[in-house]
Structure formats: C-alpha cells, structure tokens
Symmetry: C2
Subunit: 187 residues, 2 copies
DNA sequence: CCAGGACGTAACGGTTGCGTTCCGCCGTTC
DNA sequence: GAACGGCGGAACGCAACCGTTACGTCCTGG
C-alpha cells in the first residue's frame, strides 16, 4: 500500500515546484528532491510528468467553490469577486494558473483539463449568479452569460494575474458598480 | 559586420520557437536549427538566452500602437478593441504573451521589460482615450484611468487569451456598450 | 517472527542543452 | 590577390534530467 504522507508530500512539492519554475521546467528529480522522496516513489504513482501534473492539478482545481447566494445581485457579485480576488492573490495560484494557461495553448491534455475546471464550476458560478439576478429582475432577461462572465472575471484577472497591480481598498466596490452597470447595459 | 539577413532569421526563429515551446523550454540550439544558422552566429549577437529573448521581445513590443482618435469615445473604443482583439487573435501573440506573462512572475528582468511595454504605451493608450472622452464630456471627470484600463482590456484579454473562446460577430459591439456603461457608472 | 512491499539511495545508459573552441569556406575590402 | 571577418559545422566538457534497475532498510500484516 502506498503511503499517504508520501503522496501528500509529493503533491505539495509539485504545486510548489510548479509555482517556482513552471510546467515547462518542472522536473521529476526536482520534485523528488523537494519532497524529500526518491524518484521511485513518484514513478510508483504516476508514469510520467504530464500524467502526474494533470492528476494533481485537476484534483486541486476540482474542489468546488461555494456558489454565492446572498439574496441580491450586488451581494452575490461582491462575494464572488472577493473569493476570486483572494484566490488570485495567493502566491501559488497566481503563479500556477497563468503558467498552465499558457501551457494549455500547446498541450491539448492540459487545455482540456483546465477547460473542464473552468467551465464546470467557474462558469457555472457565473451562470447561477446571472440566472438568480435575472429571476429576481435585477438583470434583463436576455443577458448573455458568456459575455457576463467575461465582464465579471476579466478585469479582475487582468489586474491581478496579468498586470499584477495591487488592489486599492475601494477597487472592488467600484468594480462592482461598474460591472453591474455594464451587465444592465449589455442586454 | 554581422549580416542582417541572418539576424532577421534568428529573430523570426526566436519568436516562432517562443510561441511553440515557450520561454521555459526555449533552447538556443533549437533556435539555431530553425533559423538554419550556426550557434556561433547567435552567440556572436547575444551572450545568452535571456538577453536574446529580452532584446528581441522588447523590440517587437516597443513598436508603438497608433493611438486612436476618431472623434468620439465609442469610436475610439471600438477601434482600440478591434486592434487589441486582432493582435490577441494572432497565433504568435496569443501564445507568446501569456507565456511571457507567466514567466515574468519568476524573472524580474522579463517582468520589467513587459511592464515597460505594457505601461509605456498600452496604458498610455488608455489614458489618452479616457482623457479625450473626459475632455469631450463623454465620461465624468473623476474617471479612474487604472480601473478604466482594467475594464477595457480585461474582458477581451480574458476571453481571447485565457478562456480562448472565439469572438461572435456582435460580441465587440455588445462589449463596447457594456464597457461604456461601466465607465460612466464607475465615476 | 516472517513475508511482502514501499521506501531511499545509487547507479545505469541515453538524451538534450549549455557555452566554447577550432576549422575551412566564402564574400568583401583594399 | 591577400587579409579580414562572418559564416556553418563539428566537436568539446559539463550539467541536468529522463525512465529504469538493483539493492538494502524498515514497517506492517498475518
């Protein structure tokens, strides 16, 4: 039986290593070194680097995000942006996500895994959020969920993951106002 | 005297190779192979991989984008989004940019180079665009240029470079309406 | 108390890439 | 027509990493 503590150490090491050097330069040997583990322990669990990373990442990414339902669209939106903002400001996430996104454009398996994670619940969150708002009459009925998700997450992702500029205190509030107006206007 | 056609071949090869395998796995040998050139020709021009990539990329990124001034904010915005959208849909750009962005989080020199490129004219474009609109009275005077740039570029970048979803025909139009409303509301 | 198995270590041969060096070729320049 | 210099090609020693194997240790279950 494989030892759970070893598996955990390897998983942690992969995430850290992924954040530090990226997928392209990730090496099994470095993972083993960091985990304080023999290479054999890794090859006993996964057959190569891609399989290992996919399994570990999709496991982490698959942990479902609690869907907000605060009773009002503004509340839902604020909660969602705070959650996403928090996540994107975590060092590991902010390094790994853009890296894997870039890698996904070259590797269909990574792309599929990330798309699944993205579509499955991130966009589901958006759908639910928009659906609730439409049902409450806070947004027009024809609101395009795809466009809405872009308008919701795009600016925050851009600022935190691309431009890597810190968030001023009132930034999220302003953004909520702006995005709400955008969605109402987008019909 | 170094031969210009050789230099050009190397520059092209670097961009292509960068798009195909990313910075992390870029190798001088592969560049030389692709350019049909000896390694010596490369080392005669740059002393290592980082220096080579930085020089080439910042050269490409430094080519200034024509600042839109169509007379109206909606027109400026449409033009800007079309230009950016076009650029982000180019295969090479859409591969290289996210890749280098991810790499920038690990390499200060890359980060600085990209920040310079981003700040220098991409954000300048935003500033000018917002400034013109404010001067024309199309946007309130207190409009925050930083937030505005996020709201402008974030959704498009998210959709094209992150989610990698194609743009429906009327998407940009909808987005222009939405973003305009967002900026007016953001005061 | 013994067998099995997961473990770390070490080494294997093979590949890739680094940055450097030397060579012979060839087009310019004078 | 000779000197110069950039060129491609080949090889260098070195390092990292691949995926695999053999070995000896230790823990655990029966």
């Amino acid at each position: 039986m494989l030892r759970g503590d070893i598996t955990k150490a390897i998983r942690d090491a992969v995430m850290t290593e992924l954040a530090e050097v990226g997928y392209g330069r990730l090496s099994i040997e470095a993972v083993a070194r960091r985990a304080g583990v023999g290479k054999t322990a890794i090859y006993r669990r996964w057959s190569n680097k891609l399989e290992m990373v996919l399994e570990i990442v999709s496991d982490v990414a698959g942990r479902s995000v609690p869907l907000p339902d605060t009773g009002s669209f503004a509340g839902d939106l604020q909660l969602l942006l705070m959650i996403v903002g928090k996540a994107l400001q975590h060092r590991i996430a902010s390094q790994i996500i853009p890296d894997l996104m870039a890698e996904a454009s070259r590797n269909p398996q990574i792309a599929e895994t990330l798309q699944k994670a993205l579509r499955t619940h991130q966009q589901a969150v958006g759908d639910k959020l928009i659906g609730q708002a439409v049902a409450r009459g806070e947004l027009p009925a024809g609101t395009d969920p795809d466009l809405a998700v872009d308008l919701l997450l795009g600016p925050l992702y851009w600022r935190l993951a691309v431009a890597r500029t810190p968030l001023p205190d009132d930034y999220l509030d302003k953004m909520i106002v702006a995005v709400t107006a955008a969605l109402k206007a987008a019909n």
